[in-house]
């Protein structure tokens, strides 16, 4: 109803409004009312702000009780529904990886644990070893009996550590895959060997290997040029976080 229309209604009911205005003319709180209320208030515990009172202070928090209950229920549902996301964030935080990368990081950690012994036995002489040299990178693959393959990628630039990574590629059918690699790898290696030999010094052997921390593996590798070095691999993402020259003995 518009203001003018309402004003007309009020004008027509002016006598009623005047009478209504006298309703409590003789009604006053009795003397001592205020003191009685304050005395009663002293009997009840001092009110405190509840844990969720901050919700009420939100500008968009509804004022009516019905909507408040609905909004609170919605908040609870949203919070419960997001529990799995919170768990993911916490786990990712503990592992030190982005949450979107958590599954992959956990998988890599499991594969390092599962194939730790196998990775120690990496050698160029094995039929499970293969290396391929491209324009800018070399790729060394090492297939384990489990079917999982350790893939080591190296930049041709010796100073570029960022592109040096060792990651596991899990395979679902170990026996079939192992046979597949037995057949494929020597052929691929044989085909690429001259090119690879000219362009880089890929890892040809793991001399020794140990777990330094839960998510860090140190291994001593020998390269195609016969030189050895230690490298520290972050197992969650396969990156080589540190490397340094080392003697070619198994003193990890």
């Amino acid at each position: 109803m518009k203001h003018d229309e309402f004003s007309r209604h009020e004008d027509n009911a002016r006598d009623l409004i005047e009478a209504l205005g006298k309703l409590s003319r003789d009604t006053q709180a009795s003397p001592g009312f205020s003191a009685r209320v304050v005395a009663q208030a002293e009997q009840v515990p001092t009110p405190r702000r509840g844990a969720l009172v901050w919700l009420m202070d939100l500008p968009l928090w509804p004022a009516s009780p019905g909507w408040q209950v609905a909004a609170a229920a919605l908040c609870v549902i949203v919070m419960i529904g997001a529990v799995s996301q919170y768990v993911t964030w916490i786990r990712a935080g503990l592992m030190g990886v982005p949450s979107s990368f958590l599954h992959e990081a956990q998988l890599q950690e499991q594969l390092w644990q599962k194939n730790f012994e196998c990775a120690t036995q990496l050698t160029q002489q094995s039929a499970n070893y293969a290396a391929i040299a491209g324009e800018h990178v070399t790729v060394v693959t090492w297939a384990c009996p489990s079917g999982d393959v350790l893939v080591t990628l190296e930049s041709l630039s010796e100073s570029d550590d960022v592109s040096r990574r060792s990651v596991w590629v899990p395979l679902d059918s170990p026996q079939k895959t192992a046979r597949f690699f037995d057949a494929l790898v020597p052929q691929a290696f044989a085909a690429r060997r001259p090119q690879f030999a000219q362009r880089s010094n890929p890892v040809t052997r793991v001399i020794c290997q140990k777990r330094v921390r839960k998510k860090l593996v140190k291994r001593r590798v020998q390269r195609a040029n016969g030189k050895c070095e230690d490298e520290w691999i972050q197992v969650t993402n396969g990156s080589v976080v540190k490397r340094q020259p080392a003697p070619c003995d198994p003193g990890c």
Binding site: M1, K2, E5, H9
Partner: protein
């Protein structure tokens, strides 16, 4: 009701609430609003003695609710929302008890006669008595609305958040309630 005079009290109450000093907030609130709230309860309940008891409960309810006071609402709006809710609750309980008693005494009640209403004519006092009687025949919603607006003197803008509706809806309901009151009085007279 001199609302401008109360504004400084409202500011003081808000200051105490912001500081978490609920005891002083209550004292200021009672000093400022005791007569308005007792009058409002009287209109709602038609019982001055009971009105004062209910008014005490209203201030205690307000005291307990102080930590939940939202600065978006004015102190006045907030207090009258509590008062209206409490009075409606008390009135419903009382009406329910009365109905039970009336049902038990239905035979006696049939024989009882109502006081003859005063003729309104030009006599403002007669009209006042008719308005008082007429209010009891309106719904509790209509009664509380008319009381808040024309006796307590709250503005339409103050009443709207108390009832949780728009100012246009409040104006429409006020107009309807005035119309209903006129019908009831004309029927009585």
């Amino acid at each position: 009701m001199n609302w401008d005079r109360l504004r400084s009290h409202d500011d003081a109450v808000e200051g105490h609430l912001a500081d978490g000093d609920y005891r002083h907030a209550l004292e200021t609130l009672v000093q400022a609003y005791q007569h308005a709230i007792v009058g409002f309860c009287h209109n709602m309940l038609s019982d001055v003695t009971h009105a004062e008891e209910v008014a005490q409960d209203i201030f205690l309810d307000a005291y307990k609710a102080m930590p939940r006071f939202r600065q978006q609402a004015s102190v006045r709006t907030w207090l009258f929302a509590i008062a209206r809710k409490k009075c409606l609750q008390v009135r419903r309980n009382r009406d329910r008890r009365r109905r039970i008693v009336q049902e038990k005494q239905s035979i006696i009640a049939q024989g009882a006669h109502r006081d003859a209403p005063a003729a309104p004519g030009e006599d403002p006092e007669a009209l006042f008595q008719l308005v008082k009687q007429g209010l009891t025949q309106l719904s509790e919603e209509e009664g509380s609305l008319l009381s808040m607006r024309y006796d307590t003197g709250l503005s339409v803008a103050d009443i709207a958040p108390i009832l949780g509706m728009s100012t246009a809806s409040v104006r429409r309901r006020l107009a309807q309630a005035l119309g209903r009151l006129r019908e009831v009085i004309d029927g009585e007279a």
